[in-house]
Symmetry: C2
Subunit: 384 residues, 2 copies
């Protein structure tokens, strides 16, 4: 009988010194002094035995509603190998791995500790040393792959050198993470100047700093942009760290920050066969008020719609944000050459393209998307 309903293993950070029970919980005292209460219902809910969890999938096959709300333990003991044993009054028996218990403790200190251990974003400006990797390494070596993916997760921008300059060569790179996210622009999109453009991206215009597909409920997480040819004059890439801009705005103009984190803005992608629209604030915040996403593309923005008294405040906030995107302190600029590939967090690193002259030479980029879910899943598997 396994003591963990999980594919991971959990190191014993500190052994259990003792376990005290009362009518509602078991309180575990750890050798390092921490005290962790576990409610009886929580313990019964997390019983890892093979009657509660299907061993092949490690998924629960009972529902907690089938356990009486006032369940009681008949006996709580420590096993010889330091795990926690509970014999329940109805005869069911549960064993909990000490490492697993500690990893899932929900006393205040343990929750705060897990919060502190979450990966931190590295904010950047114009002087960024872009994390750079080589194609043959990330394709062949899982350690190089992991290093690259951690850079994408934490910095939000990366460069890969030495990618073959054939059409579709970015696909195997993206598939080192997972499958590609399709959109109405296809699985791969070709960024070239087109006469019948269905987006300003497919013109030779300057494209101001933006995220791709803000018109979707879930903006694509990672964007790959692979340069096959770049012989045209102009067309340099610029990136800004949208999370950095948001923090600057939060500090310098809290009222505008409040507006951009709460007022939904509509973005629209309209074509002959599609009509995408989505409304959300430009800056999204997580549970702890941390910035989790920027949603921004001026050329896809619908007319602002908010009460007349709020409209001037919204324009003021929006102009402030665009002012920040134009501030040279934050703009990282580089011309992508043939065989290079940007991979960036599309919901964080706003990207722009200078106007280029299609008559001066060929310019052909290919792009695709992979979502954050797939990035995080891949990192977890590589870190197992």
């Amino acid at each position: 009988m396994s003591a963990i309903a999980d594919f991971s293993t959990y190191k014993v950070i500190s052994p259990i010194r003792s376990a005290l029970e009362d009518d509602t919980q078991v309180t575990v005292l750890w050798l390092d002094g921490r005290t962790s209460p576990y409610h009886l219902l929580w313990l019964r809910d997390n019983c890892p035995c093979s009657r509660c969890v299907y061993s092949v999938t490690r998924e629960q096959v009972v529902e907690i509603l089938d356990i009486p709300e006032d369940i009681q333990a008949a006996r709580v003991t420590l096993t010889d190998d330091g795990n926690l044993d509970i014999l329940w009054q109805d005869g069911h028996a549960s064993t909990y791995d000490a490492g697993w218990l500690r990893a899932h403790a929900y006393d205040e200190e343990s929750l705060a500790e897990r919060e502190r251990l979450k990966p931190k974003k590295r904010l950047w400006g114009s002087s960024l040393a872009v994390p750079a990797f080589h194609y043959t390494d990330v394709m062949a070596d899982d350690a190089a792959l992991l290093a690259w993916l951690l850079a994408v997760r934490d910095t939000g921008l990366s460069l890969i050198h030495g990618v073959p300059t054939e059409s579709g060569a970015l696909v195997p790179v993206a598939k080192r993470i997972s499958f590609i996210r399709e959109s109405n622009f296809g699985t791969l999109f070709d960024v070239q100047s087109k006469v019948d453009a269905d987006s300003n991206a497919y013109t030779a215009f300057n494209l101001p700093l933006h995220t791709d597909l803000p018109t979707r409920e879930l903006q694509p997480g990672l964007q790959f942009l692979h340069c096959l040819v770049n012989d045209a004059r102009g067309g340099s890439s610029t990136f800004v760290d949208g999370f950095k801009l948001a923090e600057v705005l939060r500090e310098e103009d809290p009222q505008s920050f409040e507006i951009l984190t709460t007022l939904p803005i509509e973005f629209r992608n309209r074509g002959r066969s599609s009509d995408y629209r989505y409304q959300a604030p430009i800056i999204a915040l997580g549970e702890n008020q941390e910035v989790t996403e920027i949603r921004m593309a001026n050329f896809l923005r619908g007319p602002f719609s908010t009460l007349p008294a709020t409209m001037p405040l919204l324009y003021r906030a929006y102009r402030r944000f665009i002012t920040l995107t134009r501030d040279v302190r934050f703009r990282y600029r580089q011309r992508l050459e043939a065989g290079q590939l940007w991979c960036f967090d599309n919901r964080r690193a706003l990207h722009a393209r200078d106007e280029f002259d299609p008559a001066s030479g060929a310019r052909h980029f290919q792009g695709c998307y992979v979502d954050r879910d797939e990035l995080h899943s891949r990192i977890r598997v590589l870190q197992r």
Copy 2:
């Protein structure tokens, strides 16, 4: 010069009677008595002329930051055909279509009116008459297609009869909407009992009411489940309207509703080559506190993690919600037969499967996902 930067056209609900300007706004008085203020910056921002908007893509090519914040109008007039003309002090000229202006008015009454006109969800229980359609109609007839898609949007559950019982036959049905959303389980997934199951879905177990892939940031919007063979004993489908359950909970137990709309719960999909996790509340609310999504699969749930004082409240709320999913008043039950296909809003209509006996006969379903964005885009295009 077009007066609309849009692919849509806008009916003139009421003509403009007069337009009054001051230093900050133009106030339009409509013949039906409504008064709509438009700030000068808003009007300049929405100038539809071919210097401001690229006519091929209908996307803006200027940014409002390039317009002075204190822009002034030199002359505001009504045109002979009832539109609004503005000559700006810098010489730029803008014409606004009266129907477009009314459709984008942001006076209090207009905003409230647009809110009222949004499509309403039809909540349901066990006595639901499932919106049913025929394969040949939805494949051949755009009016039938639209009727089906509106049912999916508003009721969240639909049935299609007469689908060929060949593998992959659901693909052209899904593609009547758009491309299929891929996941780590593939583009199409085969729901059959498997020895090496990587989810309890691929066993013969009873699966309690759930949404698919709550382990992803964006749960799939629509789910298609196509029955090729159903000769095994058992395995009936059950659906509940998760939005209905949430409203019952909001009414009967506001404290539990508050907990399930605010406390993030972790869901996990773990396999040999993937490790998906996502944390979010079970009930998601929109801007106006309306229910927009249910996220729920007991067998994919991670251990609850919240402060000890909150844990009993969370279990109480969670048990209440599961109690509601088991209440026969809300459960719609039907056995899917070969050639039938469910299409439902995976983020609203929780679905369950009774245990079946794989020894008693063959059972083979195929499924796939399409997101809400694609549904809404398709509906808009069909309604143009």
